[in-house]
């Protein structure tokens, strides 16, 4: 029984991949992501800690591109390229970990809110989700980060806690549909309890929504990290792309014209955020049959 279920599931992932490969925008996003992921993974081999230490950096300060380091150097003589590579590791780590947190919170809230709709627990969870959707969550994130203090774990926690609500709402809506399906009723008739139905029947059925929304959430999380870092709420010891922009800003990069210092980190944020969004949209199109049909028209 379970083997058959697994085979079916594996086959459905294979179909998804076949459809994804034909989605040009999704593939463009995926290729960009792979490039940055490889950079992030290889970062410790490509850049030594001393090279990005303001006190120990070997280069001459404020070299414009084309001279010794290909992308120039910052005020402390650190190579912009080195900082970008290290930044990819920090920004992607924060984005992915914060998203994992947000998805776990959002999926749990959505599953329970949907499954228990009509009962007090469902009403409370739905109200809580709606509340998080309405409040100025970026302001909340800023206030939270200021209270908790600047370190990497706090940044991750703050982003996770403030960006789960959309996932919860989508999962809830999907759970409401799945709850009424015959196979759920069949499981209940066979004696399955609420916990078993939620984890064995409903969760696998809403998993596609969670995956697609999760990929889109990474984009938001990376943007949020950048915003927090720009306001000086990032970890001062982790050189994310946002932190790079903030340092350039504080050094007066705009009025002094240090374009090679302030442009690249922003462009990297745009590329990665866009890539996650493209992949997320592609997954949504493939996994949501309603959208797939309209794509064919």
């Amino acid at each position: 029984m379970t083997t058959i279920a697994w085979q079916r599931r594996r086959r459905s992932w294979a179909t998804t991949w076949a459809l994804f490969r034909r989605n040009r925008r999704g593939m463009v996003g995926l290729v960009i992501l792979i490039v940055f992921a490889v950079l992030a993974l290889l970062a410790p081999l490509l850049v030594t800690p001393a090279e990005i230490d303001p006190a120990l950096a070997p280069g001459r300060p404020l070299q414009s591109p084309g001279e010794a380091p290909p992308l120039g150097t910052d005020l402390f003589g650190r190579a912009v390229l080195d900082m970008l590579i290290v930044g990819s590791r920090v920004s992607l780590t924060v984005g992915v970990l914060a998203t994992l947190g947000a998805v776990v919170i959002g999926a749990t809230m959505g599953l329970f809110a949907g499954y228990y709709t009509g009962r007090p627990l469902g009403t409370i969870l739905t109200a809580l989700t709606d509340w998080f959707l309405v409040i100025p969550w970026l302001v909340l994130a800023i206030v939270l980060a200021a209270i908790l203090g600047p370190n990497l774990l706090n940044v991750i926690v703050v982003i996770a806690v403030t960006s789960w609500a959309l996932t919860a709402r989508l999962v809830r809506a999907q759970t409401l549909v799945v709850r009424e399906q015959p196979f759920v009723e069949r499981a209940r008739a066979l004696g399955a309890g609420d916990a078993a139905i939620i984890t064995r029947q409903v969760l696998p059925s809403v998993a596609p929504v969670i995956v697609a929304q999760g990929v889109l959430t990474v984009a938001v999380a990376i943007l949020s990290e950048t915003t927090l870092a720009l306001l000086g709420l990032g970890d001062p010891n982790s050189l994310s792309w946002g932190r790079m922009i903030q340092e350039a800003f504080n050094a007066g990069a705009m009025s002094n014209g240090y374009w090679w210092w302030i442009l690249p980190p922003g462009i990297c944020v745009i590329l990665v955020t866009m890539a996650f969004t493209l992949v997320g949209y592609a997954l949504e199109e493939i996994l949501d049959p309603r959208l797939r049909k309209s794509e064919a028209q």
């Binding site: 100025p136 800023i142 206030v143 915003t227 705009m254 922003g266």
Partner: protein
């Protein structure tokens, strides 16, 4: 069902909901600053060197030696009578501080949102109606790029370009009317993409509806079908998004105001972050939340007037 008339029961229900949300905000605002990593005075001690006696003195002054429940009642009473405490840094009343910074932010966020919404909707209409056209794919990609751009960085880019290289604007002193141009541009560019994407998918969805086919069958011209049948129906979801994104835009305004030294609530927040001025942060969170809830409430009512189905649900 009368359409267009304002159903009082509906308004009362939405008002009750808005008040409930506000009450929850009040509670969160209290516990956020008291329970999280200590109390406001412990937080204060992180930014300033204070002797243990001075800390204890401060704690008494803030009523922090009272039981939590008593503190909460005091907090509720003070907040509901419009007392939000004084700034730890300047000693100025938080309400006065926020009121003095209100207008620049309302101006920036108001003009920026309006501009982004109008342009975004126009782009979305054109792209969604002619899906796959050159205009559609180029506007979709530009929308995605704009959506993915950190707005603070976009502001810095504009400064680099217009103030640094072209010298059209002074790098500081953005309080004049002409100085509004760059911050508004940065803010609205950040959101135009998002609105365009939503309006586009809304148009695509509406275009597949039977009433559009019917309108065509009646012999209406393509622009007429679009203007009279598609756009009015497609604009509703975008309208909701615009209102709901006000909260998000307020967050964005903090960064934009910081980059441009625009003297509004956002810059006030930035200053409060750097000096760990918690009463100010608390006040900003409360006021911006209240503003967002009010916006959502007004949108709900407006939506109910436009679309009778909402009233019945």
């Amino acid at each position: 069902m009368r359409s267009g008339a304002l159903d009082l029961r509906f308004v009362a229900r939405r008002a009750g909901y808005a008040l409930l949300t506000l009450a929850f905000i009040l509670a969160v605002n209290f516990f956020l600053f008291r329970i999280m990593p200590g109390d406001p005075i412990a937080l204060l001690a992180r930014s300033q060197r204070l002797s243990p006696e001075a800390l204890e003195e401060q704690r008494r002054a803030f009523g922090l030696d009272e039981p939590l429940f008593v503190q909460f009642v005091v907090y509720l009473r003070e907040t509901l009578t419009g007392q939000l405490g004084v700034s730890l840094v300047s000693g100025v009343d938080v309400v006065d501080l926020i009121v003095s910074r209100l207008w620049p932010t309302i101006l920036l966020v108001g003009v920026g949102t309006l501009l982004a919404a109008v342009i975004g909707v126009l782009i979305g209409i054109r792209g969604g109606w002619r899906r796959g056209s050159a205009f559609d794919s180029s506007s979709l990609y530009s929308s995605l790029v704009l959506y993915s751009t950190p707005e603070g960085w976009l502001g810095m880019l504009l400064l680099l370009l217009f103030a640094g290289w072209l010298g059209w604007f002074p790098a500081g002193g953005f309080s004049s009317a002409a100085g509004l141009a760059l911050p508004v541009l940065a803010l609205s560019l950040g959101y135009v993409g998002q609105y365009a994407i939503v309006m586009r998918s809304s148009m695509i969805e509406v275009k597949a509806q039977p009433y559009i086919t019917l309108a065509r069958a009646k012999g209406l011209s393509d622009p007429d079908v679009r203007r009279r049948h598609a756009v009015p129906n497609a604009v509703l979801p975008t309208f909701t998004l615009v209102v709901l994104s006000v909260g998000f835009i307020l967050g964005g305004a903090i960064v934009i105001e910081t980059v441009f030294s625009w003297p509004g609530i956002g810059l006030l927040t930035y200053e409060a972050i750097n000096t760990l001025d918690y009463p100010v942060l608390q006040g900003v969170f409360l006021v911006s939340s209240a503003a967002v809830i009010l916006a959502a409430f007004i949108a709900d009512i407006a939506y109910g007037v436009i679309d009778p189905q909402v009233r019945q649900s």
